[in-house]
Symmetry: C2
Subunit: 143 residues, 2 copies
DNA sequence: TTGTCTGCAAATCATTTGCAATATT
DNA sequence: AATATTGCAAATGATTTGCAGACAA
């Protein structure tokens, strides 16, 4: 049998390469978001030869394919997170530990309603992301 | 009497300079978001000598002070918009003409509720931005 | 004055690209 | 074999920084 990640790649019409499998494995193992540079550091532990551009390219492709997700960060740099949940949803991001958790709330209905009635416009998409302190970090920081 | 923009600057403890007044004037005159480069181009029409870093620095400071707002853009570059509405609210951005319009909808209550009950976390802030087609662009593009 | 603001030139540095070699199907 | 993937080196380009002179308060 093939791995879950191999299936994911095939589903995206991407060839199943060791590098790609490793990227998916690394990201899915983390509960926090990672920068391309950080993914690269972790990749170096597994491969003698691994280029940073390869990491950038694959993160980009996997993100476009929906296998991983970009995190919206105030510093406007790239960060990725592997999220199993394929349905439309949004994320809660811990500003301390960078943990990402799903939130089911989404005001799409209300948004579409307001835009169509008040602005007479058409909604194509929306982004929603919540920043805060996760449960673990709250507990660790209380006296 | 002093201009509205001068008052804005004083309120932010920023010295009232011609460059700053012009930046505020330019942005407030536009109904679309602008890049620092674009603001710079418009500034060049008014000043014989105007440096791009000055534009960047002032946009940053004005944004931090809340006089203008950053637009969240998929290309992760800087874009600014001058928004009169000082209350917490979010924006609808037209993907065609870059027009920015306020939307009053904000699911803060529901978000805080879900994060606190389901994730046992604490919400610090959130971003919400809606992309779509504004009324003008819909009308212009219909057959 | 006195500290802030600005212009200019140069630096940064995250991200991208070109291309030849390599690996997947 | 045919095509996609990768590594390396180099390029890109938006954004930032250092600093001396100009300006606002």
């Amino acid at each position: 049998m093939e791995s879950e990640f191999a299936a994911t790649l095939k589903g995206l019409n991407m060839k199943v390469t060791p590098k790609r499998l490793a990227i998916l494995e690394i990201l899915s193992k983390e509960s926090i978001y990672l920068s391309p540079e950080e993914v690269w550091q972790l990749m170096k532990e597994r491969f003698k030869s691994i280029g940073l551009p390869t990491v950038y390219r694959n993160l980009e492709d996997l993100s476009n394919g929906g296998a991983i997700t970009k995190v919206i960060h105030p510093d406007r740099k790239l960060y990725y997170f592997c999220c199993r949940n394929q349905e439309h949803h949004h994320h809660f991001v811990c500003v301390f530990c960078r943990r990402v958790e799903d939130i089911s709330y989404c005001g799409n209905k209300e948004i579409v309603n307001e835009v169509s009635t008040t602005l007479k416009g058409k909604v194509l998409s929306h982004v929603l992301q919540v920043y805060g302190i996760c449960n673990s970090c709250i507990n660790e920081n209380e006296s």
